[in-house]
Symmetry: C2
Subunit: 216 residues, 2 copies
């Protein structure tokens, strides 16, 4: 699978690129192409040092969309509407939202947009035939990047297109130690997105780091 | 600790009584006192068959409040406002809400009241000096009741009264295999409550049963 990461030089994007590029062809996108190139070189170096294969290139966000079968929107909630509106070519593609609308107060709070979730807001910005799924919301950036750390984490996946959801779950399951769970239709994404501020609260109030979940 | 369970003959209440009455004095309350008595006898029999101690009595919901230090509101969301409004004596007590406002569509959906969560709605119905916490939301009724099943589950606890929260976390941790996590202030309860419909969706769409969570 050719996986494009819009916002691929950010915290989550960078870690995702490292985890995915040993098994898939990854296209790291950025507003700043030079940063994406640096990021892809860093990814290559890191994986080769570990004796792992790596297929990864850095380019613009638009190229990351154009050259990929699956596009991950690794963009903070505050920028996602602007970013998606500025890009073309989503038609027919599988698009993945790992986006969580969170406010930081004395604690972390889930504050969804009027549509009910980031996913439902993003759906309105995409062409009707884009195949949007929610995934990768709940894994902390540091866990993605800590390649030497063994993961045992669950990733809930939502979506309305059965085939697209199966492909995204396959992508999730291709990462060692991560297990995909079908969490229902796209309208159920709010319950997946609100897990992330809960996990941030659990970390904060129990002096833990990079908390993830398992279902059992 | 003397623990009262309002709605103690329901699914969650019955299981909670079984798990708690080997370590605490449990007062099972019900609108129907006779049912509460039957339930407490069942609890005694079940625990004694396993060679466990059991302190458990059945009575009215009002007596369950009056005779207890901690009151658990084991009532479905649709009945909790009516039930709480019909009871007195919460003043100064620790009150625990395991209540989740859920709608069943083709999937399970978190549908909080205008206050933002069941917990915040319940707080408005209680006297200002009642010490409300959120806890026990995410454990499936069948898991509570399956006494022979070893649990490995996380229970997030929210609350604004530090001492009350510590007491509730102690109560949670007194159940073998259950671990309490501080999930922040009462205003963060929505993220705990919305975990339950997510777990129901995970169970439904992945052919699992009685799904719980662990943090790691």
């Amino acid at each position: 699978m050719r996986v494009g990461i819009v916002g691929g030089t950010g915290d989550i994007g960078e870690g995702l690129a490292m985890r995915l590029s040993s098994r898939h062809d990854v296209v790291i996108g950025s507003r700043d192409e030079a940063r994406a190139v640096t990021s892809s070189q860093c990814c290559l170096t890191t994986l080769r040092q570990r004796g792992l294969p790596c297929s990864c290139e850095g380019t613009t966000n638009q190229q990351a969309v154009d050259r990929s079968d699956i596009v991950i929107l690794a963009v903070p909630f505050s920028h996602v509407a602007g970013t998606v509106s500025g890009l073309r070519g989503f038609s027919g593609k599988i698009v993945v939202s790992p986006v969580n609308p969170i406010e930081k107060r004395d604690y972390f709070m889930y504050v969804p947009p009027p549509e009910g979730s980031a996913a439902l807001m993003i759906r309105k910005l995409l062409p009707p035939d884009a195949r949007l799924c929610t995934a990768f919301n709940t894994v902390a950036a540091n866990k993605w990047r800590a390649l030497d750390q063994e993961l045992h984490l669950a990733v809930p996946v939502c979506g309305d297109d059965r085939e697209a959801k199966a492909t995204v779950m396959e992508l999730v399951n291709s990462i060692e130690g991560i297990r995909a769970y079908d969490a229902g239709p796209l309208a159920a994404s709010c319950m997946v997105e609100s897990l992330t501020p809960l996990l941030l609260n659990i970390a904060r109030f129990n002096r833990m780091r990079d908390v993830g979940i398992e279902f059992r």
